[in-house]
């Protein structure tokens, strides 16, 4: 029942290695093809959803910060819900940034390097390694910015991963064997505690998505159906905001109790 989340500094490499792991382990795939389902389920424009996964909001873009957060929350809720199933390889959905603290999730980072193996993969995709390398530096900076803005987590920080594979040193076929071999470690096996952590995370993400549709500044923690929502509001709005949160969160399937903690808005504090 373990989960493997694969990310790389080159998208083509990430996808190819993930597909090969799926094949080798006969696991299910969870990749960016689900973005179309997310867009349909939450009635979001698919183009805007894809944009939200790639860029951060700015004054020059149509996407507002609030919309951006909501779109990411929808993806997160859907991914976590699907991760409750068994034996999955996940990539291309930034799951390595928000699926945290789950012991049966192995996070793998594949560094594309300049090797023949990496070259073969990108050539199969109709690209040249030079092209990919040129793009990679800019993309890495962009991904670093995006991951910090979205989840306060630098995805280029390799200490965050369980396994880092450099294709300069390890051939892609060996990389796949290394990943599948590492999944045999007992440390990554499912246990009652890790499943509970995952279901708590999934419930928190669902509630977060339900709330971010109509409000901002939300933090949600869940445990066994009990949900604690932290937010900010002015003294005047406080009561109404608590009632709205309790109603919206209470309507989410699996929620049995809602507690709301409200901090004063910073402007009100300084007034």
């Amino acid at each position: 029942m373990p989960i493997i989340i694969i990310s790389s500094d080159a998208r083509e490499i990430e996808e190819t290695i993930a597909e090969k792991v799926v094949e080798a382990m006969d696991y299910s795939r969870l990749g960016d093809q689900i973005l179309a389902d997310v867009a349909a389920k939450y009635q979001i424009d698919p183009g805007q959803l894809n944009e939200a996964m790639e860029t951060i909001p700015s004054l020059f873009k149509k996407l507002s910060a609030r919309q951006w957060r909501y779109y990411l929350a929808c993806v997160e809720a859907e991914v976590l819900d699907r991760l409750m199933a068994d034996n999955i390889v996940c990539w291309g959905l930034a799951a390595h940034l928000y699926v945290t603290g789950i012991s049966h999730v192995m996070k793998v980072r594949v560094l594309s390097g300049n090797s023949r193996g990496a070259m073969e993969i990108v050539e199969q995709k109709g690209l040249s390694l030079e092209e990919v390398q040129k793009r990679r530096t800019g993309e890495l900076q962009q991904r670093k910015k995006w991951s910090l803005a979205a989840y306060n987590y630098d995805e280029t920080d390799l200490s965050r991963y369980d396994l880092v594979i450099n294709l300069d040193q390890i051939d892609p076929a060996e990389a796949v064997k290394t990943i599948t071999g590492a999944m045999e470690y007992r440390k990554f096996q499912v246990m009652t505690y890790s499943m509970k952590c995952l279901s708590n995370l999934a419930l928190a993400a669902k509630v977060n998505g339900a709330l971010l549709k109509s409000m901002a500044d939300i933090n949600v923690q869940a445990r066994d159906g009990s949900v604690v929502v932290s937010t900010k509001a002015s003294a005047r709005q406080k009561r109404k905001k608590i009632a709205t949160i309790k109603e919206l969160a209470g309507n989410v399937e699996g929620v049995s109790y809602v507690e709301v903690h409200v901090k004063k808005h910073i402007l009100e504090k300084t007034a």
Binding site: S103, K187, F188, M191, S194
Partner: protein, 138 residues
């Protein structure tokens, strides 16, 4: 009639044993409760239990040491860890060392019964239990 599952339950908080023993008795387990890890280990030296349920943070000896002791003495015995200090690293360490399952407190006795049932099945001695709603174990 099938043989009862022999269970050793070790937690330095007396309330845990008081709550869990009757819950496990209900599914036909024969439970011996200990609050002192050294006394529990001495009993493990004398008797092969099917299942050992142990807390992790205790004075004198921690749950991982108990696990290692059980594994050396009785490799067939399944060890289940219960803890109020659950963290991913600790869970992975315990799993890596061969624990059967790991559960964070508070939990409902039914959660433990379910794990016991899985362990019994893994031991080739399946038990059947009906779900009973109980108060959580802190």
């Amino acid at each position: 009639m099938t043989k009862s599952l022999e269970v050793l339950l070790l937690d330095d908080e007396p309330i845990v044993g008081r709550r869990l023993k009757p819950a496990l008795d209900k599914i036909g387990c024969r439970v011996e409760v200990f609050e002192n890890p050294k006394e529990a280990v001495a009993r493990i030296d004398q008797k092969e239990f099917d299942i050992v349920v142990t807390d992790i943070r205790m004075e004198e000896m921690d749950g991982i040491q108990v696990l290692e002791h059980v594994q050396k003495k009785w490799p067939r015995t399944k060890v289940i860890i219960i803890t109020g200090y659950a963290k991913m690293d600790l869970a992975r360490e315990a799993m890596g060392k061969g624990v059967f399952d790991f559960i964070a407190k508070p939990f409902r006795p039914d959660d433990l019964r379910r794990i016991i049932a899985n362990a019994a099945e893994a031991l080739g001695a399946p038990i059947d239990f009906s779900s009973i709603n109980d108060e959580p174990v802190e």
